[in-house]
């Protein structure tokens, strides 16, 4: 294994909105510490924009534990209330493995 240096990445999210589709680009390590802030940012957008689709883009998520499952599940429920759908995009193999434990692959669309 090739590894280099000491590290913590601060989690962040960038939110994009176009024609009823909200995309949340997540970045960093998604754990319990990080989840709260991310959740609040996403929920604030969902309330304001009431999109028909929420895309959670995991491309730049380098770590996720079951706190991330809570995040996805909660957003799935909100999207159901809005009669919309949830799409999970660009999840790494490791993150898919965690999501599969929760059966998230049966709830959200994966891209």
């Amino acid at each position: 294994m090739e590894i280099n240096n000491s590290q913590i990445t601060v989690m962040s999210v960038r939110i994009d909105n176009s024609e009823g589709v909200v995309t949340a680009y997540l970045q960093g390590e998604l754990d319990h510490h990080a989840a709260k802030g991310i959740r609040e940012e996403i929920d604030e957008s969902l309330e304001r924009l009431r999109p028909s689709t929420l895309i959670l883009d995991f491309k730049n998520v380098t770590f996720m534990d079951s706190s991330g499952i809570g995040l996805v599940m909660g957003r799935y429920r909100t999207m159901q209330l809005l009669n919309g759908k949830l799409v999970v995009k660009n999840a790494s193999l490791h993150i898919k493995k965690v999501m599969r434990l929760a059966g998230l692959d049966r709830l959200a669309e994966f891209e």
Partner: protein, 149 residues
């Protein structure tokens, strides 16, 4: 069997320390040259156990979290995560997938499920009012020995 290398770390139950805990354990077992997958499995399991100490064991305050990592000759790693928090009343129920005592729906109740799936063996000991100890064993696949003086 005696471990060939041991590391103990303890720190306060602040959520900012969750990532520290993962990195510390990963950096210690890096000497076994784990695969990226093995490292991710262990980091995720440690993250679950440490988060449980912060969210459940010490839910009403700040306490200490104790981690011990032991490396054995045959590339077996044993990680113990201990707290002196509230303890678990019913361990069997706590370990059921999707069970969580937390309200509000933001905990998935899958911490123990992750630990169980991502390691070879999970043991949980707890005494109400005294704390909880979680022991996770995992054998790494590749052959290598802890080198050094």
């Amino acid at each position: 069997m005696r471990p060939v290398n041991i590391m103990k770390v303890n720190f306060l139950s602040r959520s900012a320390n969750e990532s520290f805990a993962r990195v510390a354990v990963a950096a210690f077992i890096a000497q076994l040259d784990p695969t990226v997958d093995e490292l991710a499995d262990i980091k995720t399991s440690v993250s679950e156990a440490v988060t449980n100490c912060i969210v459940h064991a010490y839910k009403d305050g700040i306490g200490e979290i104790y981690i011990t990592v032991k490396i054995y000759e045959n590339d077996k790693v044993s990680v113990t995560v201990k707290d002196k928090g509230c303890g678990i009343e019913n361990i069997e129920r706590a370990m059921e997938p999707m069970y969580t005592s937390t309200q509000g729906g933001e905990r998935a109740g899958l911490g123990f499920t992750v630990m169980q799936s991502f390691t070879d063996r999970l043991r949980v000991k707890s005494r109400l009012g005294f704390g909880t100890t979680v022991i996770m064993d995992k054998k790494l696949g590749k052959k290598s020995v802890a080198r050094g003086t």
